[in-house]
C-alpha cells in the first residue's frame, strides 16, 4: 500500500510551490528578529555561570548608571504566589532564590542599543554562593546527591527515594513474570542517552511592548502564540486577553518553541522602561545553555522471546531528567511509546522523573519516543541475532495492527505498521551488497500524533478567492497543505486559496503546531469551514434561482442545480457569488472550532547502512531509508521532507550530538562548532517511501507525519554499527571515541 498519487483527487497528492517559498528564498520573510519599532530598546540577559548557586545579592546600580540603559529587571519585579507549572515557568524565566543551571537567567537589561545592553549586563553584579551540583540522571538519584528543590516530589514517589526523584509512573497489563517464564530467550540490558537540542536555525527572538496598564503586544518566533500569551500572562500576573501575540515566520522549532524562555522579560522590561518596545534576541550560546533540550535518559529493558521470534513479555524501567523542575521530562511519553509497535500480551512499564542542574527540557520531536526506541529496538535486535532470526520478520510477526490492545492501553483502530514493514521488506535498499566494515540496521518507531484545540476561519473574497485564517504557525509546509485541502474541497485552484497564520486576537484558542497536528487539525477545521461556506453559497444561489437550497449542489467551484427537476440554470461560480454577496445577504465565511479527536498514530520503519572505520571508530552513513505511514500525503514533498528531517536529526542524536558538561557543571559545547549536528555532507540523500493507510478520523485520511521519523534512527544506527563491527553500543552518542573503544574492547575481550 505504498503511496498512490492518483486516487481521484484533483489537488491532494500534488506538489505545488509553497506559498511562503518566494519570501523565504528572497529574504523577504520576516522572522523573529526582523521586526523593529520606533523608540525600540534592545535587551540582554544576565545568566548564571554556575550550575547551582544561591543568589545572595544582585546589584544593578552600575548597570543603571551606564548612559543608554533604560531598565533592569530581576525576579523582584515579577509577581509572587504562583504555583505549579506557572511557578516553574516564572522560575525558569528569572531565577529566584537559586540559579539552577549554567545559563539560568538572573536579570535582564534594556538599553538604547544592543551593545550598551550587553555592556550593562556585564555590569550587573550578582553575588553567588556556589552549591554542589548534579547533571547526570543516575547520579542525581543516588544517595548524597545535592538536593535541587526539596518538597518537589509528588505523591507517586515511593518512600525513601532521593528528593530529586519527583515522579513515579507505572502501568501495564498481563502477567510479565508468566510471560518471561514462557519465553525461550529472556534478555535484559541497560541503556543511556544524552540530552540533545532541537537545533533550530533561528534563535529565539521577540519584540514586545507593554504599558503601565498591562496591555501588551508581542511579535515572536514561536510554534504557538496562544501558549506564549497564556504563559507570559501567568508569569507576569496579567490577564491573557491583555496580551496580543503575533507569530513571525519560524526558522525551525521541533517542539522547542512551544513554551516561553525569555518572552516575559521583554514585556516586563518594556513596562519598566515606560512602555518603549523591547527587542530580545538570543545568541546561539544562550539557546544551547538555556533553552529546551530534550531529557537525558537511563533505561533498563527486559524482553522475553520464543524461538520463532514471538514476544511473550516486556518490562521497561526508565529514569529521565528534564532539568530542575517537575513535569519537564517526557518519561510518561517514553514509557507509552516504548512497546507501542508490538502486540505483546504481558507488559510492565515503570519510570522515574528526576531533577538535575540542567536547562528546563522542552518538547523535542516525538518527546521520549527516540530514547525508548533506542533501548527496546536495540535489545530486540540483539535477541533476533542470538536466535538467528530476521529482524524485520520478527517485527512483522509481533506488529501491532487494527484491534491490538496497545502497550499503553487503548486499542488501535486502523494503523499502518504492517504495511510499512511490508513496504520496507520490498525495498531495493535491502538488496544492496555490503562490503568490509559495513553493516545494516533496522528499527521501527511510533508517535501518537495529536489533535488538540483548534479554531479556523475562512472567508470568501469579492472575487471568489478564499482566505483561510489558522492559528498554527507553519513550520513544515502546512499553509500549502491546508490550501490544497481547501481548494480540493471547494473545487477551486490551489492558487485561489491563501492561508494566513493569524494573531491571538483573530481566532479562538489554538494549541501550537505540536504533536504533528497542524495539517491534521487545522486542515480538518479548514475543510469543515469550507463546507459551511459551500452550504451558504448554495443557499445564495438557491435564493437567486428561487429554488429550494436542497436542490442546489456544489461541484467544480460552482453551485449547480442538483438535477433536472431543480430547474435549468447555468452554474453560478464562486467568483459570481463572491461578487454579489454584499447584496445577497452579506459576507460569506465559514468557521470551525474543535478539540480535534480522531488523530491517527503514525508508525515508521528505518533501514540504515553504515561503514565504520575500524581504526578511528568513525561512522559513515552510506544509505538511509525511511518508510512511514502518512495516512494520506496531502503534499508529498513536505511529507518526504519531514521523513528526511526526522532521520537527519535522529542520526545526529545517534552519532555525535550531546551536552558536554565540565566538572564545574558548565556546558562546554555552546556553539554549533562543538555541538555537532550533522552537516549536509555528512548524510546521503535519504530515501523515503510514503505508505498511505488513511486515518478514518480525518476527511482526507491525514495522519501526522512530523515526529515518528526521529524515533528509529537511534537504534537503527546502533544496530548497523553492531553489524559492521560486532561491537554493541548501549550509550549515546556513538561518537568515534566510544565506538573505537568498543571495537578495541571487543578485540581485547
Amino acid at each position: 500500500m505504498a503511496k498512490d498519487e492518483t486516487q481521484g483527487f484533483r489537488l491532494i497528492g500534488t506538489r505545488p510551490d509553497r506559498p511562503d517559498g518566494l519570501d523565504k528564498v528572497t529574504g523577504r520573510a520576516r522572522y523573529g528578529a526582523d521586526i523593529s519599532a520606533p523608540g525600540m530598546l534592545h535587551a540582554a540577559v544576565v545568566r548564571s555561570p554556575h550550575a547551582h548557586a544561591r543568589i545572595v545579592k544582585i546589584d544593578a546600580s552600575k548597570a543603571l548608571a551606564l548612559p543608554g540603559v533604560k531598565a533592569v529587571i530581576t525576579r523582584a519585579d515579577l509577581p509572587t504566589g504562583l504555583t505549579g507549572e506557572d511557578w516553574n515557568l516564572q522560575e525558569n524565566t528569572l531565577a529566584g532564590e537559586k540559579a539552577l543551571y549554567d545559563g539560568h537567567a538572573v536579570a535582564a537589561v534594556a538599553a538604547t542599543t544592543k551593545l550598551i545592553a550587553q555592556d550593562a549586563a556585564k555590569l550587573v553584579e550578582v553575588t553567588y554562593e556556589v552549591l554542589p551540583h548534579v547533571t547526570d540522571v543516575d547520579a542525581a538519584m543516588a544517595a548524597g546527591a545535592p538536593v535541587i528543590r526539596a518538597g518537589t516530589a509528588d505523591h507517586s514517589v515511593p518512600e525513601g527515594m532521593h528528593p530529586n526523584v519527583v515522579k513515579y509512573i507505572d502501568f501495564g497489563h498481563g502477567d510479565v513474570e508468566a510471560g518471561f517464564a514462557a519465553a525461550d530467550l529472556v534478555r535484559a540490558q541497560s541503556y543511556k542517552t544524552e540530552a540533545t537540542h532541537q537545533g533550530y536555525i533561528e534563535p529565539h527572538a521577540c519584540m514586545a511592548q507593554m504599558g503601565s496598564d498591562d496591555r501588551g503586544e508581542m511579535w515572536v518566533c514561536t510554534q504557538g502564540h496562544w501558549y506564549i500569551r497564556r504563559m507570559s500572562a501567568a508569569v507576569l500576573g496579567v490577564d491573557a486577553s491583555k496580551l496580543r501575540v503575533t507569530p513571525s515566520e519560524i526558522g525551525g522549532g521541533f517542539g522547542g518553541k512551544t513554551t516561553i524562555f525569555m518572552e516575559p522579560l521583554a514585556l516586563a522590561l518594556s513596562k519598566k522602561a515606560g512602555g518603549r518596545p523591547v527587542k530580545l534576541v538570543m545568541s546561539r550560546s544562550e539557546v544551547l545553555r538555556a533553552t529546551g533540550p530534550t531529557a537525558s535518559a537511563s533505561m533498563d529493558v527486559k524482553l522475553g522471546m520464543k524461538k520463532d521470534g514471538t514476544l511473550t513479555a516486556a518490562k521497561v524501567m526508565f529514569r529521565m531528567q528534564g532539568g530542575p523542575y517537575i513535569g519537564s521530562s517526557p518519561v510518561g511519553e517514553a514509557l507509552s511509546c516504548a512497546l507501542a509497535c508490538y502486540d505483546v500480551p504481558n507488559v510492565m512499564h515503570e519510570g522515574y522523573e528526576v531533577l538535575a542542574n540542567r536547562p528546563k527540557a522542552a518538547a523535542y520531536r516525538a518527546p521520549g519516543s527516540p530514547m525508548a526506541a533506542f533501548a527496546v529496538e536495540s535489545l530486540l535486535d540483539e535477541m533476533c541475532r542470538e536466535l538467528g532470526l530476521d529482524p524485520l520478520k520478527v517485527r512483522l510477526k509481533n506488529a501491532a495492527r487494527e484491534g491490538t490492545k496497545s502497550s499503553y492501553g487503548p486499542t488501535y483502530n486502523r494503523i499502518g505498521l504492517v504495511e510499512s514493514l511490508e513496504a520496507t521488506m520490498a525495498h531495493k535498499n535491502l538488496l544492496a551488497p555490503l562490503g568490509p566494515n559495513q553493516g545494516r540496521g533496522v528499527a521501527s518507531g511510533f508517535w501518537f500524533n495529536h489533535g488538540g484545540e483548534t479554531s479556523v476561519s475562512l472567508a470568501i473574497g469579492e472575487d471568489g478567492t478564499v482566505t483561510v485564517s489558522v492559528g498554527t504557525p507553519d513550520i513544515g509546509g502546512s499553509r500549502a497543505s491546508i490550501a490544497l485541502m481547501t481548494g480540493e474541497c471547494l473545487g477551486i485552484p490551489y492558487e485561489k486559496v491563501r492561508v494566513n497564520v493569524v494573531e491571538t486576537g483573530a481566532l479562538g484558542v489554538n494549541e501550537p503546531t505540536h504533536g504533528s497536528r497542524a495539517t491534521f487539525a487545522s486542515g480538518l477545521a479548514a475543510v469543515e469551514a469550507a463546507r459551511q461556506a459551500m452550504a451558504e453559497m448554495c443557499r445564495r444561489a438557491a435564493a437567486e434561482w428561487d429554488i429550494d437550497p436542497e436542490a442546489v449542489e456544489w461541484r467544480d467551484g460552482a453551485a449547480h442545480p442538483a438535477g433536472p427537476n431543480a430547474g435549468k440554470f447555468p452554474p453560478m461560480s464562486i467568483a459570481e457569488i463572491g461578487a454579489k454577496m454584499g447584496g445577497s445577504g452579506g459576507p460569506i465565511s465559514g468557521h470551525h472550532e474543535v478539540t480535534a479527536g480522531g488523530f491517527g498514530a503514525s508508525f515508521g520503519v528505518h533501514v540504515v547502512d553504515v561503514e565504520v572505520d575500524p581504526e578511528t571508530g568513525r561512522t559513515t552513513v552510506l544509505r538511509y531509508l525511511v518508510v512511514q505511514d502518512a495516512g494520506r500525503a496531502i503534499h508529498p514533498a513536505y511529507v518526504e521532507g519531514q521523513y528526511q528531517g526526522g532521520a537527519a536529526q535522529g542520526i545526529g542524536w545517534a552519532l555525535n550530538e550531546e551536552y558536554v558538561y565540565g566538572a564545574d557543571g558548565r556546558l562546554q559545547n555552546t556553539v554549533f562548532l562543538d555541538y555537532r549536528i550533522p552537516v549536509a555532507s555528512d548524510l546521503p540523500m535519504i530515501d523515503t517511501v510514503i505508505v498511505e493507510v488513511p486515518n478514518p478520523g480525518h476527511p482526507y485520511g491525514v495522519r501526522g507525519v512530523g515526529e515518528t521519523g526521529i524515533t528509529p534512527p537511534l537504534p537503527a544506527l546502533a544496530n548497523a554499527i553492531h553489524a559492521a563491527t560486532g561491537a554493541r553500543l548501549r550509550s549515546l552518542p556513538m561518537s568515534p571515541p566510544k565506538v573505537l573503544a568498543a571495537i578495541k574492547a571487543k578485540a581485547g575481550g
Partner: protein, 288 residues
C-alpha cells in the same frame, strides 16, 4: 576601539608598536571578528593588513620556493595551480579551515597567529619546512613556523611584530606532502587530531621527511623521531607502524569536549600512516 588600515608593513608595525592596549592584526578576520562578537576579546586597536600592497600576493621566490602574503586567502591558494602542484598538503590543510565563505577570507598567517594547537594549516606548513617573515620594531627576521606557537592562543611574536609572509622551500624532485585531520563530521569542524607529512624519495626509498602533529599537544609539534622512522625505508608496513609509534610517543593530548586523550593518541598514529602513504604516492607521482 580604533580601526587602522595602514598602507605599508612599516606603518602597521609602527601602529602596533605604539599601541598600549589590546591590539589585534586583522587579515581575514575569521578568528578576530568571531572572538569580538562572542565577547571574548574587545581590541583597543584593530590593524587591518589587507590594504598593504603585496600582502595578498603569491610569488615564486628566486630559489624556486614560494612566498605567500599574510593576507592571501585559502580560496586564493586553492586556485593557484602551481602552488597546489608543489605543496598539495599545505594547501589542503588551509582549505579545510571553515566554510566556503570563510575560505574567501581566512589566511595561513592568521591561522598560525591564532595559536590554536588544532589549527589545520599549521602541521602542513611545519612538515613542509615553512618559515615566516616576521617584521617588528627591531626589523625583519625569518623564523621556522614551528617556532611561532607558544601554547593555546599564544605566540612567540614580540609586541609590535607581525607576520608579513609565509615562505615555502622549493619542492624539488620526487617530493610529496599531505595533511589529514580527524573530525567526527565531514566539514565545519575543528581537528581532533591533525597530521602533516612531507617527504622526498630517492631510489624508491624515503630520503628525507618531516612529520608534524596537531591537536595532541599545547602546540603543533614537529616529530623528528617520526621522520627517522620512515627515512631510509620504502614505507612498508613496518615503517608505518614505527611512524605510528613515534607520533603516539610524542603526543601529549588532553581529554576535552572534542575527544579523549586516549582516542587522540590512537588516532594520531593512524592518521600519520595514512598521511605518509598519501605523501609517498604524491612523491611517486611527481617522479613521473
Amino acid at each position: 576601539m580604533r580601526y587602522h588600515a595602514p598602507s605599508s608593513v612599516a606603518e602597521a608595525v609602527r601602529l602596533a608598536a605604539g599601541a598600549t592596549g589590546i591590539t589585534r592584526f586583522l587579515s581575514g578576520g575569521t578568528d578576530v571578528l568571531v572572538q569580538l562578537r562572542a565577547g571574548m576579546v574587545t581590541p583597543d586597536d584593530l590593524i587591518d593588513l589587507k590594504k598593504i600592497p603585496g600582502l595578498r600576493e603569491i610569488t615564486r621566490t628566486p630559489d624556486g620556493g614560494w612566498r605567500i602574503g599574510a593576507a592571501v586567502s585559502g580560496a586564493e591558494m586553492g586556485r593557484h595551480a602551481a602552488l597546489c602542484s608543489d605543496w598539495p598538503g599545505v594547501v589542503e590543510g588551509m582549505r579545510l579551515v571553515g566554510s566556503t565563505q570563510v575560505q574567501g577570507r581566512a589566511t595561513l598567517a592568521g591561522n598560525l597567529c591564532n595559536g590554536s594547537p588544532a589549527a589545520d594549516s599549521v602541521p602542513g606548513m611545519v612538515a613542509a619546512g615553512a618559515r615566516v617573515v616576521v617584521t617588528g620594531p627591531a626589523g625583519t627576521r625569518e623564523v621556522a613556523v614551528e617556532e611561532i606557537p607558544a601554547g593555546p592562543g599564544k605566540t612567540r611574536l614580540k609586541p609590535g611584530e607581525m607576520i608579513e609572509a609565509v615562505l615555502l622551500p622549493p619542492r624539488g624532485a620526487q617530493g610529496g606532502d599531505a595533511y589529514l585531520r580527524f573530525i567526527p563530521r565531514t566539514e565545519m569542524d575543528i581537528a581532533v587530531v591533525g597530521v602533516g607529512v612531507s617527504l622526498t624519495l630517492e631510489g624508491g626509498k624515503v630520503a628525507a621527511a618531516r612529520v608534524a602533529i596537531g591537536a595532541v599537544a599545547p602546540t603543533v609539534l614537529l616529530v623528528p623521531e617520526a621522520a627517522k622512522a620512515i627515512i631510509g625505508t620504502t614505507l612498508d608496513d613496518a615503517a608505518i607502524a614505527a611512524l605510528a609509534d613515534a607520533v603516539r610517543a610524542a603526543a601529549t593530548p588532553i581529554s576535552d569536549k572534542r575527544g579523549t586523550a586516549e582516542f587522540r593518541k590512537d588516532v594520531v598514529g593512524v592518521l600519520a600512516g595514512r598521511a605518509a602513504r598519501i605523501a609517498h604516492d604524491r612523491a611517486k607521482g611527481a617522479a613521473k
